[in-house]
Amino acid sequence: MTEVINDTDEKQKFIRGYSAMVLYRALEKKAMAAQRQGRIGFFMQSSGQEAAQIGLSMALDEDTLFYEYYRDLPMMIHRGVPLELILNQLFGNRDDIAKGRQMPIHLLAADYNFMSIPSPVGSNLPLAVGSAFAKKYRNKSGIVEASFGDGGSSTSDFHASLNLAADLNLPVLFFCENNGWAISLPVEKQTKVEIWKKAEAYGMLGLKADGNNIMEVYKVAQEAVQHIKSGLGPVLLEVRCYRMGAHSTSDDPKKYQTDIVAEGSEKDPIVATEKILKEHGYLNDQMIANIRAESEKIINEKFEEQEKIPPPDRSTMFDDVYKERTWVLNEEEDEYR
């Protein structure tokens, strides 16, 4: 393998990025199988969006705050969120930070700067604006990242958030992961113009990148970050990628989806990334085989371990509604004994 000396950091960065993609994919496969066996209740796949997310993540600094959405698990893995923490939430077990209260895939990893995910689409976006204001007001370093899908770009929250962020000139990166679908609606039915173009109407920079090209996303994301850090205001970055699976494990896309992308095809971002990184001399077939085998092993082991942890105690149901339990909750718990 040829190594150019000043290339080494970039190379390591891309290998790490690629490894995170493969590790995520191994997790997804395991989780989908577990869901079908009734071992976890629900899952939402991110396959098709890995290169887009990790290309972005590679361009973001340590001090980035994430208002991610439910398909951002690959990005979380890339940023070092421990598998235990993720799996505890998938199982909703006793050790889950959220005490088994949220549906699987509504993740939280505050120690890794990932905020808690709500189900209502788009409702993470105004909060990102508020956090960006707080950062600016307190002179804190770092920007705020807020992800959403093409469907999310139709919500009132999206429009309110872009408008306010531009008005207040805040350090937010709005990251639209356009996977082509919002459940059954193709993006052409969601919006009449490309989503990144909407930025202009709000007075901010709009950028787009091919979400299947990790290098392109990385480069465009760096440009976005530079722009935001220079105090020039928020950016809307749209990446075009693919939803390779169903919307969720409760959905059957056969009825509506016309462009199902098969695993292993050139539109599969793992395949696309392997090709790009091989061309750059960053990866070779042996490394790929090793990374894949290692990932599967890790995921299999972790799954078995975390699955053994029991569910939360029933009394936890009454905690955290308020800072102290009210008389109402105490009475209701008594009724349950």
């Binding site: 209740g41 209260r101 919002a182």
Partner: protein
């Protein structure tokens, strides 16, 4: 007559109503090609076209607001919100436009629409796919709120709601969507809005309930041979005050069972009505068996619902009270 579950009964009613009246328009997310995430509108776009079954972008406020506009302009829109939890993003349109149009126009402009949505738990949907928000709507003057508990009532109430003349919030307990198949007439028939249904008769106590809790109460009463009146409210606003007061006076012991949280839930209102109108007939305090005043939990979902044990506890308390 055909044997139908609740999803099929609602689908049939929509189909029938759209065939009869071309002012009936459906709109919502994924309701067209996909037939709705619960398949309630399955096949309707193929039959009636994209002008009558509109797949909208992802924006509930837009869906509801546009439906109000259609309604004031002479159509009978039936917007669908996938999960009631997401209606909250359109509450401004519901509370400030839909509910107030008749009043603020001196009765000259009305909003004849039916806003359909899936409510309650039972599908492991966690915090945001399980809420029972009927109190928010019942608390808002100008809204009519119904919640069927079986396929027959679902069809009959929906027929009555379409063309009712006022906005109807039509709450479908998703737990019951496929739980029971019964005979439903193929022809149009109406279940009157504002009328409860006495589904079991007894003299010792009254259990007032609705929606997802009806089968639970029914089973508990039957399995334990409780000598109880069981009232399925069916309409939550306006309440069938006559039936409520009648059964309270008859038995003197009243329990209210619902899935929604207790505080300011339907139980509070029903209890107040009975206190105001029949307190001298009561032998025991009115008891509520309800969902919890917590958000809806994912992993412990089964513990959240009122169940046989809690209903029996309440019934013992009522019977033993002196």
């Amino acid at each position: 007559m055909s044997i139908m579950n609740m999803v099929q009964a609602i689908n049939h009613t929509l189909d029938f109503s759209m065939s009869e009246d071309d002012s009936v328009i459906l709109l919502g997310e994924d309701i067209g090609k996909d037939g709705g995430v619960f398949r309630v509108t399955d096949g309707l776009q193929a039959k009636f076209g994209e002008q009558r079954v509109i797949d909208t972008p992802l924006n509930e406020l837009g869906i509801v607001g546009a439906a109000i506009g259609m309604a004031v302009s002479g159509l009978k829109p039936i917007p669908e919100i996938q999960f009631q939890d997401f209606i909250f993003t359109s509450m401004d349109q519901i509370i400030n436009q839909m509910a107030k149009m008749r009043y603020r126009t001196g009765g000259t402009v009305t909003v004849p629409l039916v806003l359909r949505t899936a409510v309650g738990g039972g599908i492991k949907g966690g915090l945001y796919h399980s809420q029972s928000g009927e109190s928010y709507f019942v608390h808002t003057a100008g809204l009519t709120v119904v919640m069927p508990s079986n396929p027959l009532d679902a069809a009959g109430l929906l027929f009555s709601s379409i063309g009712y003349g006022d906005p109807v919030i039509f709450l479908e307990p998703k737990k019951l969507y496929r739980s029971e198949k019964i005979e439903v007439p193929d022809e149009r028939f109406d279940v009157a809005i504002g009328k409860a249904s006495l589904i079991h008769e007894g003299d010792s106590l009254s259990i007032i309930t609705y929606g997802s809790m009806v089968p639970v109460v029914k089973k508990t009463v039957e399995n334990n041979s409780l000598d109880a009146d069981v009232l399925d409210l069916r309409t939550l606003s306006p309440l069938d005050v006559d039936s409520i007061v009648k059964t309270a006076k008859k038995t003197g012991r009243v329990m209210i069972v619902h899935e929604a949280p207790r505080t300011l839930g339907m139980g509070a209102e029903i209890s107040a009505l009975i206190s105001e109108r029949a307190i001298e007939y009561l032998y025991a305090p009115i008891l509520r068996v309800t969902g919890l005043d917590t958000p809806f939990p994912y992993r412990l979902e089964d513990l959240y619902f009122p169940d046989e044990r809690r209903i029996l506890n309440a019934s013992s308390k009522l019977m033993e009270y002196r």
